[in-house]
């Protein structure tokens, strides 16, 4: 049964094309039903900001034309125009593609974790709409299993690849869970704001915002459900806060070693993480030498993100190997499943022949002891098993090419006189 995938993604189509094809989750039921009526056995639709892909199981490949027409119609584009951006995958390529997509290997940022949830959602919507057949259900389950294996074994999505996330990752390396920590944001620089937002998303206890303009501090604090404080009260908050983000436009240091030493003296073994995202720098670099204080500037964080990105590329190679093995395993399982009816029929047919010929033979041989009869029966059974061994093996571990497998099946059916 052909397995196919028709779609486009951020590499093959610009956003202008992708946005015309993007699909509303709430209308997915209707969309899937409409696609199924093209003569498919099953369909699931993956629609994210970076890709739109229809995963199909169909009686034959002819339906592809209709699916492309359906997509062109939906995008309001000429078929010939849309075809420039589309890719059409078949059989093993579909399996490999989905395994890679779900593991984040085909994403814009390699290893990003959101895509796994999006693939799950796409299949769940199809399940709810009743458009998943047995083949797509198997594919769905296997895809999720492989993606989990890839992420667990390689840890591909574990490290941050952007400056704000790198700051969050480092904070976690120092404090573990960030819940219950207090953050002090100095200034209102864009990247500082973004970093504070990511930290706020980690359920920190409180975000204090200090800015030269108090009004702007209040505005920012409202965004983080935090508290605006006067810029002059930094000392007091340095002692109470665990993470300090400096992102002011000041051309000089706003945090000096003496202030940090005073703060640490009252913190009793509690560390202080200082993130300097300003250029020129706002936190005196000498602070890095103080025990219990960890200072990272924008270059340090960028370096962390770069190293992580390189590491993800290395882990992607490891992931590709896992996926290669999984695709082969899945293909073999599908081939074996596909071959089951022929194998059963073949065994039945030869068993029929064996039973008939055995009966004839036993009649000719005359009276026999129970042991002799058992020996003859065993001989005939073993002979049949030996004859069937290679044909069954070939049917189970057949070629990668579906056409070749079909041809082999036909040949075997013909040779052994099975119904075609």
């Amino acid at each position: 049964m052909p397995l196919m995938l028709v779609g486009l993604n951020h590499r093959t189509a610009p956003v202008e094309v992708r946005e015309r094809l993007s699909m509303d989750e709430r209308k997915m039921d209707e969309i899937l039903s409409s696609l199924l009526s093209c003569g498919l056995h099953g369909v699931a639709m993956l629609s994210t900001c970076n890709r739109v892909e229809a995963i199909l199981s169909a009686p034959n490949e002819d339906v592809i034309e209709q699916i492309v027409d359906w997509m062109a119609d939906r995008a309001g584009a000429a078929r010939v125009e849309l075809e420039k951006h589309l890719y059409i995958l078949r059989y093993g390529d579909v399996v490999k593609h989905l395994f890679r997509v779900c593991s984040g290997l085909d994403s814009m940022i390699v290893g990003e974790p959101q895509i796994g949830g999006q693939v799950r959602k796409a299949f769940q919507l199809a399940q709810d709409a009743g458009t998943l057949d047995a083949l797509l259900t198997q594919l769905y389950e296997q895809t999720m299993r492989v993606a989990k294996r890839v992420r667990t074994e390689t840890g591909i999505g574990e490290h941050a690849v952007s400056v704000p996330y790198a700051a969050v990752e480092l904070a976690k390396k120092i404090f573990g869970e960030l819940e219950g920590l207090q953050v002090l944001l100095l200034g209102a620089g864009e990247i500082g704001e973004l970093t504070a937002e990511h930290l706020h998303g980690q359920n920190v206890k409180q975000v204090f915002v200090a800015n030269r303009s108090y009004e702007r501090a209040v505005e920012l604090a409202t965004r983080f459900e935090g508290l605006a404080v006067q810029f002059g009260s930094i000392d007091e908050h340095l002692a109470a806060c665990d993470i300090v983000i400096a992102s002011t436009g000041a051309p000089h240091f706003v945090v000096e070693p003496s202030q940090v030493e005073r703060a640490l003296a009252t913190r009793k073994n509690r560390n202080l993480f200082l993130i300097d995202l300003s250029v020129p720098r706002n936190i005196n670099p000498e602070i890095a030498g103080i025990e219990g204080a960890y200072l990272y500037n924008v270059d340090d964080l960028q370096h962390v993100a770069d190293v992580n990105r390189e590491m993800r590329q290395k882990k992607a190679l490891q992931a590709e190997e896992i996926i290669g093995r999984e695709v082969e395993g899945f293909r073999k399982r599908l081939v074996a499943q596909d071959a089951v009816p022929t194998i059963l029929e073949l065994q039945g047919r030869l068993e029929e022949i064996r039973a008939a010929e055995l009966e004839k033979c036993l009649r000719k041989m005359g009276p026999m002891t129970a042991e002799q009869r058992a020996a003859v029966e065993m001989f005939s059974s073993q002979m049949i098993n030996k004859i069937l061994h290679y044909p069954i093996l070939q049917l189970r571990d057949g070629s990668e090419e579906p056409q070749e497998r079909e041809s082999l099946r036909k040949t075997i059916r013909k040779i052994f006189g099975l119904r075609s």
């Binding site: 074994e153 574990e158 390396k173 404090f175 009793k268 073994n269 025990e291 960890y294």
Partner: protein
């Protein structure tokens, strides 16, 4: 059947587990780490069997001579390591704890001492002394292992470079927290061990408490551990300084252990 058979099995599995775990340090494969843990757990089961056998044969806790004590401490250290692994999923501690367990059990296998049957050793005070001391030492060793992890994590964060252990070590706070808890629990239990040991010695020697290698090592270790703990409590804890003092305490414990057979 040789009663030490399960000891040799345990030693074999611990050896293989330690090797696999150390190998995973270079390959960074999580499957290898888990394989190492699996081998260690099999070794641990065999180790437990051996301790059970000794208890049955001698009729008292397996802590009356050096081989028994070393094996019992190794057993306790591994129990704590297992508990911490379940709670914190810390793989990095295994790089210190597995070799430590292996070394301690190797002492049990190499050093041959007859099973002690002295009636003096059957007193409750002596049993309490041995149990408190070994448990305390096991907890203190775990405290040191996590103190070392905290030091490595601190160095990596300060130098802004990741070592091989970066992904395997938990957060700095967790390392410090576990180290502190293990040290404070270990110190209290160890102190009880020293007090009961002193009382037992006082009782059995009619008031004469000799200061031999074992006693001196134990007291020096106690003082050094007290210093580390004090730095935690007073807020003057420094990972580097703690490591040096901890290393001294570890040596003192080894010296005290080597003196055990002078009982």
């Amino acid at each position: 059947m040789n009663p030490n058979l399960s000891l040799y099995f345990a030693l074999g599995f611990y050896g293989a587990g330690t090797l696999v775990a150390l190998l995973s340090l270079f390959t960074r494969e999580k499957r290898l780490q888990l394989a190492g843990l699996g081998l260690m757990v099999i070794g641990f089961v065999s180790h437990t069997l051996w301790i059970g056998t000794i208890c049955t044969l001698t009729g008292h806790a397996p802590i009356t001579n050096l081989p028994e004590t070393a094996a019992f401490i190794a057993w306790l250290v591994f129990v704590v390591e297992l508990v911490l692994f379940i709670v914190y999923r810390v793989h990095a501690a295994s790089f210190f704890v597995y070799p430590l367990v292996l070394i301690l059990l190797s002492i049990s296998a190499v050093v041959r001492e007859p099973f002690a049957h002295s009636p003096k050793l059957l007193s409750r005070l002596f049993t309490a002394h041995l149990l408190f001391t070994t448990t305390g030492v096991a907890a203190l060793l775990i405290g040191l292992a996590f103190g070392l992890l905290a030091h490595l994590q601190d160095r990596a964060l300060k130098s802004k470079t990741r070592g091989r252990l970066w992904d395997l070590i938990p957060s700095l706070n967790v390392c410090k927290d576990v180290s502190y808890r293990a040290l404070s629990i270990g110190f209290s239990v160890y102190t009880l061990g020293l007090v009961t040991g002193f009382l037992w010695s006082y009782k059995t020697t009619a008031g004469v408490v000799a200061l031999r290698t074992k006693e001196v090592g134990a007291i020096v270790a106690w003082v050094l551990f007290a210093t580390v703990l004090q730095s935690y409590i007073s807020g003057t804890y420094r990972t580097r300084k703690t490591m040096f003092i901890g290393a001294g305490a570890f040596i003192a414990i080894v010296v005290a252990m080597l003196g055990i057979h002078h009982v």
